[in-house]
Symmetry: C2
Subunit: 211 residues, 2 copies
DNA sequence: TATGATAACAGACAAAAGTATGTTTTAAAA
DNA sequence: TTTTAAAACATACTTTTGTCTGTTATCATA
């Protein structure tokens, strides 16, 4: 290819590799070579080596298609969405999973799930009937956080408060009363870290999970 | 490895490959072989061939690490998020991209972007200040849709209406007036297909986009 | 127990991909 | 202009990986 100013082709190659990696298709050195119309493998190789040295890419030595993004950039995982919530102790059964949606998070897997909200007790906080809340089960809960809780076997989304040393679950809709459940009837499932609303049909990812 | 009942190892291999692909690390035939402690490459190969024949996997012939998930399962793409919107004709400049978030959609790439909302003119529709709306530029617009529009070079999110043959942009907050811009001052950028709110710090994917 | 289908194994070859050495051309800065 | 560094090229070698042919073992069912 034509000679470019120092750094220019380097950045373009980074963009290319980055996109391929985010698409789940790590390129070979020769695919990079071809994408930039280079006549020598080494042209691509040395750019890739440089990107690794700069810390913009990571290389698994020896392996084919071995370039990766540093962990911080790649952090996209799939969270299961459950529609109805089973009564009793809260655990996610495979049968209840509607599908998966992509979530970016640096936390460990299996700690985030999605829950479809029913009811309008949180509309003043912008959580409408039918919205999906993403819940992290491993978060510490602080007053003011929006949480998913189980009260008497029922799942609800509310704002977490404390008053007189007791936990209060506060709706964000003046038409609803504050709940002050007895500790033995209350389980905090997790903290709401994200709210999503799909205004068009949602197509969830991945069904065939049996076996 | 030990002999298993027909179908058992097949499913386990599918799970393995699926996870690897969703993690962005397509395996080689020999990596599958190793993961299941098989003593022959062909053992893994024939399972993979079978999975392709069943339609559970797709193969790019000849290429290394060439197994893929069928499109329906994989359909997750990255949409750019723009914070401020440039005045003038609407086009997404690289400089304005804050980062990327994963979106599941079957539509073509480059037609969806994210926009950070400012203002509270849509709170009754559950769109709060700071929320991110995902916008598809290729959608048909119908009355009742929530749209991103440019009025006199300013970007706004409103509900799309028609009255007396004229376009109206209706806020969803009684404190705000309905807009009835002249056609020449109005550009409909696209339709809001999703609303997201990040209650914890959001870490966008990918920063270094210069070059 | 007999039989067909599935599963696993063995060994080999060709193509793809990673890696290495050295040279030529252009850009950036002294 | 000269010098130094970056960019691009040419070629070769090794390892990894895809693919093939054929054999043996186990499962499911009659």
């Amino acid at each position: 290819m034509a000679y470019t100013k120092p750094g220019v082709t380097r950045n373009r190659i980074y963009q290319f590799v980055r996109k391929r990696l985010l698409d789940g298709e790590p390129p070979t050195v020769r695919e990079v070579q071809a994408a930039f119309h280079m006549r020598a493998v080494q042209s691509a190789k040395s750019h890739l080596d440089a990107l690794v040295k700069e810390g913009r890419l990571i290389k698994v030595p020896g392996k084919s298609r071995g370039y990766r993004l540093p962990a911080a950039i790649h952090s996209s995982q799939l969270a299961p969405i459950i529609g109805r919530v089973p009564a009793g102790p809260f655990n996610i059964a495979i049968e209840d999973i509607e599908g998966y949606i992509p979530v970016q998070s640096s936390t460990e897997e299996h700690t985030i799930f999605g829950l479809r909200v029913s009811g309008d007790s949180m509309t003043d906080a912008g959580i409408m009937d039918g919205d999906i809340v993403l819940v992290r089960t491993s978060s510490e809960i602080h007053p003011g956080d929006i949480v998913v809780a189980m009260v008497d076997g029922e799942t609800t989304v509310k704002e977490f408060r404390r008053a007189n040393g007791q936990v209060q679950l506060q709706p964000r809709n003046t038409a609803y009363p504050i709940l002050s459940p007895a500790p033995e009837d209350l389980t905090i499932v997790g903290k709401v870290i994200e709210v999503r609303r799909y205004l068009e049909g949602i197509s969830l990812i991945g069904e065939q999970l049996n076996g």
